[in-house]
């Protein structure tokens, strides 16, 4: 696995939470939104284990609803606990990213 994909894997959980926080969404739409943000996922399916984990930890809830194309579709939305977790993720990210950036700048 390349360094990039290793890094992205760790960030996927928080990023998905951030996406779901913007409004109710479903699997395929999440992938499209990630791509709009140029967030390169390892493989499209890799979001599902993460979504399952988020749901298990009560950070998101889901409802089944009929999709325009026919079969039932699982729509995710964020919970109160999820919002708190997202806040923690943002703080961690800011700390880590500013630390790494300043380190890298120093090297140049």
């Amino acid at each position: 696995m390349s360094t990039t994909s290793q890094m992205l894997k760790g960030l996927l959980e928080g990023s998905l939470l951030a996406l779901i926080a913007k409004g109710e969404t479903y699997g395929y739409e999440i992938i499209e939104k990630l791509k709009e943000h140029h967030f390169a996922v390892v493989s499209e399916g890799s979001i599902y284990p993460v979504l399952m984990r988020l749901q298990k930890n009560n950070f998101v809830t889901s409802v089944q609803r009929k999709s325009p194309s026919g079969p039932k579709r699982k729509y995710y939305s964020i919970t109160k606990e999820g919002e708190e977790e997202l806040e923690r993720f943002k703080q961690h990210w800011n700390k880590v990213s500013s630390g790494v950036s300043s380190l890298l700048e120093e090297e140049e």
Binding site: S43, K56, S67, K74
Partner: protein
């Protein structure tokens, strides 16, 4: 409509999760979600590799890790599978009213059951999924079928001393038991297969038990039975196929 590879992957995933004792509803949920995703992705011209990555097995594992082991379901499913196997074995003799137990038969059935449980996990996860949609699948099914028939022929030839011979009433009770098992399975698994197979098995024995001897040997009736049998099969497969098609369209 999903591609062959996508369907294949979903079958493999389902079998993998079942064999790991995951919860039925959760399995159903994740399979639904993934097939919805695959449907849209393939319509957009993407490959299965874009979705599951380079190693489908690693991907399956990553999904399995997020699901709990459902002990209750495992405890129900294992004895129910054993019951279903027994019902298949007892069904034909019970219709004929010739249900009997012999040492060799019972031992063989027990050995078969133990062996099948050992092979169960291995076959379900490693072997069967790879064979779906390939000619090997049909060869293995054919071989298993031949082995089973061979076993019954063997028992019939060498095992002439049953220690228990059922009265007609007992045979009918066994028959009733078998039918109950088939129906329970069909309801539980939500498939018709555990009812369709016994119907096929029952043709011969029913004819043997209920049709008078002279009609049984009349070439006219034999021809008639063959023609109706083939017609019935064609109609059955037509409906099965139609069902499948509707399922994959929706």
């Amino acid at each position: 409509m999903l591609s062959k590879q996508a369907n294949q992957f979903l079958i493999e995933l389902k079998m993998y999760l079942i064999s790991k004792g995951k919860n039925d509803q959760e399995i159903h949920g994740v399979i639904n979600e993934l097939s919805d995703h695959l449907l849209q992705a393939e319509a957009a011209g993407k490959n299965i590799e874009d979705i599951v990555g380079d190693s489908p097995r690693a991907y399956m594992k990553s999904i399995g890790q997020e699901m709990g082991f459902d002990i209750r379901q495992f405890l129900i499913l294992t004895p129910m599978t054993a019951l279903l196997l027994m019902a298949y074995i007892c069904f034909a003799p019970a219709i004929l009213g010739e249900f009997s137990l012999s040492k060799l038969g019972v031992l063989g059935a027990i050995a078969g059951a133990v062996l099948s449980i050992i092979l169960y996990g291995f076959l379900l996860v490693r072997v069967l999924p790879k064979m779906f949609y390939s000619k090997w699948f049909y060869i293995v099914i054919g071989l298993t079928y031949m082995l089973l028939i061979g076993f019954f022929v063997f028992v019939n030839l060498f095992d002439k001393e049953p220690f228990f011979i059922a009265t007609p009433l007992q045979s009918n009770i066994v028959l009733l038991g078998c039918i109950l098992v088939f129906i329970t399975w069909a309801i539980y698994s939500k498939t018709w297969i555990s009812i369709i197979i016994p119907i096929f098995i029952s043709f011969g024995p029913i004819a043997g038990r209920f049709i008078p001897e002279h009609i049984n040997e009349d070439p006219f009736y034999i021809t008639l039975a063959i023609i109706f049998g083939i017609l019935g099969l064609v109609i059955l497969f037509y409906f099965l196929f139609k069902n499948e098609k509707e399922k994959s369209i929706s």
